[in-house]
């Protein structure tokens, strides 16, 4: 058994720091210079150029909320958002400590007293909203995967089922999340009535909208992956008289795994994009709502804070994609395939 060690640099396509190190040590100076320039300096130069264009361009745009913020203001706003989060979590810790002390003191006085633990109800900070968004997209995406992979496998194995479902898949696939949202809202409001709800309605609406947009790429890729299995491998299964279950587990699934993960990766990318829009409209706490609230707020630093959110959304999307790529490489039996 060969063990594949996961190289984080390769998995995330990070620049080669060992080359930088070798360069700094003066080792084979000229031979190190060119690859280093390619892998590190060129992207850095492009980012620098982008920042310069942004700074120069932004100062020329005057909006009703003031000048469009440049990189410096956005950097400041990011620091401020982080500071607000630290402040808020400090307050939360204090609140719980005070409550605990109060309850302990009360129990000492009257041991039978019922002490209630009240949750802290401060405003969610930017970091909290990032975590909520990640949670929502994860639940929508997982739910979509649980539906899409079995349907995809079934469609790949039965051409009849594929012919039956294909028109529906093709019609629903291009539908924008914004078109689904009102319908989802009404259906959730009608069906999810509970006096003590486990989930908030806005969370369910956002997660279901994500699910509706996430299922299609996974279904299609799983179908293609399953139906493209080498005919000879299927024949091996027939000669061995593998049962339905063994065939699926030992032959069909491993063979289709790379395609399934290619679909999941597409789905997660779409899900993350859809989530921001869904959170805006469903008013589910999260990055989408953060952007919307800041827009409605209209204070002088709103635009800078929105830009922080835009960059964070992009970065998280990028990291999610790399994470899926890592998984895709890990499950692929064909290690020579180039995945990017």
């Amino acid at each position: 058994m060969t063990t594949e060690t996961i190289n984080p640099r390769r998995a995330f396509d990070l620049p080669r720091l060992d080359r930088l190190q070798a360069f700094l040590q003066g080792e084979r100076f000229t031979r190190m210079l060119l690859p280093l320039a390619r892998s590190l300096l060129i992207p850095l130069a492009a980012i620098g150029l982008f920042l310069a264009l942004w700074a120069g361009g932004a100062s020329r745009v005057d909006t009703s909320l003031g000048q469009l913020p440049g990189p410096a203001q956005v950097w400041q706003a990011a620091g401020q958002l982080l500071a607000e989060h630290q402040q808020e979590s400090g307050r939360e810790a204090e609140f719980y400590q005070r409550q605990e002390e109060r309850n302990a003191a009360r129990l000492e006085r009257e041991p039978n007293a019922e002490v209630r633990i009240r949750p802290y109800v401060g405003a969610p900070t930017f970091i909290d909203q990032i975590l909520t968004s990640l949670g929502t997209v994860a639940s929508g995406f997982l739910f979509a995967s649980l539906i899409a992979i079995p349907i995809g496998i079934a469609c790949g194995m039965s051409s009849t089922l594929y012919k039956a479902l294909n028109p529906l898949i093709q019609v629903f696939k291009p539908v924008s999340p914004l078109a689904w949202l009102p319908l989802v809202t009404m259906v959730v409001s009608a069906l999810y009535v509970s006096s003590d709800p486990l989930f908030s309605k806005s969370y369910l609406i956002s997660a279901i909208t994500v699910t509706l947009c996430c299922v299609w790429p996974t279904i299609i890729n799983t179908t293609v992956g399953v139906s493209a299995i080498d005919k000879d491998l299927i024949n091996v299964g027939r000669v061995l008289r593998l049962g339905w279950f063994t065939k699926t587990v030992k032959v069909v699934l491993p063979s289709a795994m790379p395609m399934i993960f290619a679909g999941l990766r597409l789905s997660l990318g779409i899900g993350w994009m859809v989530l921001i829009a869904a959170e805006m409209l469903a008013q589910n706490p999260g990055l989408g709502k953060f952007v919307w609230d800041e827009f409605q707020n209209g204070s002088s630093d709103s635009l800078a804070r929105i830009m922080v959110a835009v960059l964070v959304i992009g970065l998280i999307g990028f990291l999610l994609d790399r994470l899926m790529l890592l998984l895709q490489r890990w499950v692929s039996w064909d290690k020579s395939a180039v995945l990017r």
Binding site: N235, R238, W333
Partner: protein, 279 residues
């Protein structure tokens, strides 16, 4: 009654241009322990004969009897060695063979016995050193050795080989032929092998079945190869009897049944398959 009885089989595939008769009246009896080669130009339907015996295809007319029982579905008693090895790429060499052993002997043998049996068969093809390798890490010849080990491990009544060495370079091919003869001496399996290599056919076979060109291909001639075993390729190179057999097969293939100059759309149509367009 013979061991394997291929009784007047014919097969017709529906195509866009109407039905296409690929085989017609193929009639062959194989005795137990016999090594039979099928030779013919590509597209003449020799793989189709093998697939019908394997049960992977159903004959339109006629049928196949193995020990007087009709063949109507694939099974491990007619193990197939496929041309492109067909190992499961995500399993190791050992696991590929073990999957077959577990499937065939799940009830009749203990876990330890099955382990031993998988190892034994891999050692038989000289692959005991690469148990934990995966198919993409070993050479084409090694993959085919594992394919043979997997088929042998099923203890088949008939071993079916579909151009097993066709994709290998000639040096590797001679090694593989030697290994196969060595195993054949020991186990005396009943083997039906498809080949388009004349030397291979004469060297390995007890009988060579020569097929006419399709469509409506059938058996043209059967040549019994009466050379003493064990056979040695170097000694046989100058053997007049060997060269007579060789010449007979060559004459059949290249004089009397020369391949049609314009192959009228490969006589072997691809079987209907599920294809799903991407996107």
């Amino acid at each position: 009654m013979s061991y394997l009885n291929i009784d007047h089989i014919g097969i017709t595939f529906p195509t866009d241009n109407g039905p296409l008769e690929v085989l017609q009246g193929v009639n062959l009896r194989v005795e137990k322990g016999e090594f039979v080669s099928l030779i013919g130009h590509s597209g003449c339907g020799k793989s189709t004969v093998l697939n019908i015996v394997a049960g992977l295809l159903n004959a339109t007319t006629g049928g196949v009897l193995l020990e007087n029982r009709e063949v109507d579905e694939p099974g491990p008693d007619r193990a197939v060695v496929f041309q492109n090895h067909s190992l499961l790429p995500w399993l190791t060499v050992y696991d590929n063979v073990r999957l077959a052993v577990d499937q065939v002997f799940r009830k009749s043998r203990s876990k330890a016995e099955r382990h031993e049996w998988a190892l034994h068969n891999l050692e038989q093809v000289h692959m005991g050193h690469a148990l934990e390798r995966r198919p993409h890490e070993i050479s084409g010849g090694m993959k085919q050795r594992v394919g043979i080990a997997r088929a042998l491990a099923m203890e088949p009544k008939v071993l079916l080989m579909d151009e097993p060495f066709g994709a290998l370079d000639s040096l590797t091919r001679t090694h593989m032929q030697d290994t196969l003869m060595e195993i054949q001496t020991r186990l005396n399996n009943t083997v039906m092998m498809i080949t388009h290599d004349v030397d291979e056919a004469v060297l390995l076979s007890d009988r060579i079945v020569m097929m006419t060109n399709g469509p409506s291909a059938t058996i043209g001639e059967i040549l019994a190869v009466d050379l003493p075993r064990p056979r040695d390729r170097l000694q046989l190179a100058d053997d007049p009897a060997y060269n007579r057999y060789r010449a007979a097969v060559l004459k059949f293939l290249h004089e009397r049944h020369r391949q049609p100059t314009a192959p009228a759309g490969e006589a072997q149509p691809s079987r209907p398959q599920l294809r799903v367009a991407a996107g």
